[in-house]
Amino acid sequence: MRPAHLTARRLATSLLVLAAALAVTLLAATLIGPAPASLRVALAPGGEATPDYAILFRARLPRVLLAAVVGGSLAAAGAALQALLLNPIAEPHLLGISAGAAVAGVIAIVAGADAASAVVPLAAFLGALGMITFVYLGARAAGRASPHAILLVGVVCNALAAAAIMLANAIVSYTQAQGILFWIMGSLSTQGYALVAVAAAYALVGVAWIVRHAQDLNLLALGEESALELGVEVERTRRAVFVAASLLVGAAVAVSGMIGFVGLIVPHLLRLAAGTDHRLLVPASFLGGATFLVVADTVARTALAPAELPVGVVTALLGGPFFIWLLRRSLVRGMA
């Protein structure tokens, strides 16, 4: 049984354990792969010229690090959105927020931006922010956005976004369509450290911003009126967290395409294990999401080697049934 409330000591211990698990996973994932590579050879004097070095440090490590940043961003955004929307089954992908980011990214590419440039993450951030706002306002009635209404509006927005992307594909040139398809399908592969750095910068700002509002998220999880009565400036907090979550989702989509369910599975399991206090849950979700997606991506690139699965397939195969289980449970409890 976990203690009845969060202390600074438990916060530190929990985050240290999760960080250690992430470090081990990063190392293991870098060493695992279809092509054999020896860390000892790569790190020996003159090792930079060896194929082992190229495999470990030019192919695998950037990919593993990118998976970590993307997984962490999506999970932290999921945790924040769940508190803000009072909805334990909110998730960036399900609510159409990832799709909003994708549409904006596609528009940027169609307008001539290079898919690997810094313009695309910015566009994706704005797309995510626009979609969060749209879904929230669309689902809100009589001062309250019910969890079911949010999910329904999100589903419709997903469908609209998919149609918009197909439309864009139909009207652009063949090479542009190929570029869009490649970007949307998303992949963590063939990315350099520069992209990792961009995504990490967005993640750092986004997570720090959410953590700054973590206590307000705790109070908001009691309901909007209770939060007001306990001194939370609800509208200001909501805007801040929407922007921060959009930064996280926008950057994740821009560098890796659409990867679903990370933001659902990870915060939920952590809530069961470590409690609901968002001062712990948000950073823990970042570390746990990072670990989760690194593992999922390792499965994606090794399970059918030499063929590679999109990592979104792995997360969806795990996350779909999990989502239905969560939904069933909340329906049974009569509060979804």
Partner: protein, 262 residues
């Protein structure tokens, strides 16, 4: 003396006609004022206005002499606490975590509760007999336990003004009186001003210093329980014949509904 909380000419309109119109009231420190009236008479709206959750269409709320809309939310929360009818909680916060949230307005945004905050929270829980469930998730508690945890949270806020919106709806007889015994002890000992919406007129008669009878958004009677709990007034407001007698044990009024004349 400046009242702890006062409403001056309060009106509110959800868009389908006035819910409250021209309501004046004042609650002094150390006093328990009950708000009674039939369903839809505007009782809950009045609590939301006084808490600053919604803004009045006309009139204003004064909290210890300052207009409510001139105060920051945190300043209000340090002085005024609300106990809702119930709490819809989707997340498994423990009972102690929920009570500690009452300390949030007194702490810097990311600070952990100090030993003093824990003492205050645990004392409030002990007072309401929910200390034993502090490590259980609020969603797993019974309706009565949950309600007492929410009152403990309000006490942990150490407010000067306490607003209660039918806090005893889910409670059995012992805990109904238990909650109001606690509230009364608090007002007498530390001068907290209490405004409570009550469904149960007999409970209102037992614990309130003054009563406010609302009907169709207006104050139709105002005074001591003996002045307000009179058969003609109540029959008119509730639209049902009632019998008002005297509680032999306390000398306060008791109100009984009567069947419609056949």
């Amino acid at each position: 003396m400046t009242p702890a909380i006062a409403g001056e000419g309060l009106a509110y309109d959800y868009g389908r006609g006035a819910v409250l119109d021209g309501v004046n009231l004042a609650v002094a420190a150390g006093e328990i004022v009950g708000v009674i009236g039939p369903n839809g008479s505007g009782k809950t709206t009045l609590v939301r206005l006084l808490a600053g959750v919604i803004r009045p269409g006309a009139g204003h709320v004064m909290l210890e002499g300052t207009r409510l809309d001139a105060l920051a939310r945190r300043d209000i929360a340090r002085r005024l606490a609300v106990v809702p009818q119930d709490s819809a909680l989707e997340f498994p916060f423990t009972a102690l975590e929920v009570v500690l949230m009452g300390r949030a307005p007194h702490l810097p945004p990311l600070a952990f509760p100090r030993a003093r905050d824990l003492d205050i929270a645990r004392a409030a829980m002990a007072r309401l007999e929910v200390a034993a469930v502090e490590d259980r998730a609020l969603v797993q508690l019974s309706g009565g336990e949950r309600q007492r945890v929410l009152l403990a949270r309000a006490l942990a806020q150490e407010p000067r003004v306490l607003l209660l919106d039918e806090p005893t709806t889910h409670l059995d007889l012992r805990h109904q009186t238990g909650i109001y015994d606690t509230v009364r002890a608090l007002t007498r000992a530390s001068g907290v001003a209490v405004l409570s919406v009550l469904h149960d007129l007999n409970l209102a008669a037992l614990y309130c210093d003054r009563l406010l009878l609302l009907a169709a958004g207006r104050v139709v009677a105002h005074g001591t329980p003996a002045e307000v709990l009179r058969a003609p007034l109540l029959s008119e407001a509730y639209g049902v014949p009632v019998h008002v007698g005297t509680n032999a044990a306390t000398g306060t009024p008791i109100v009984l509904p009567l069947p419609a004349p056949s």
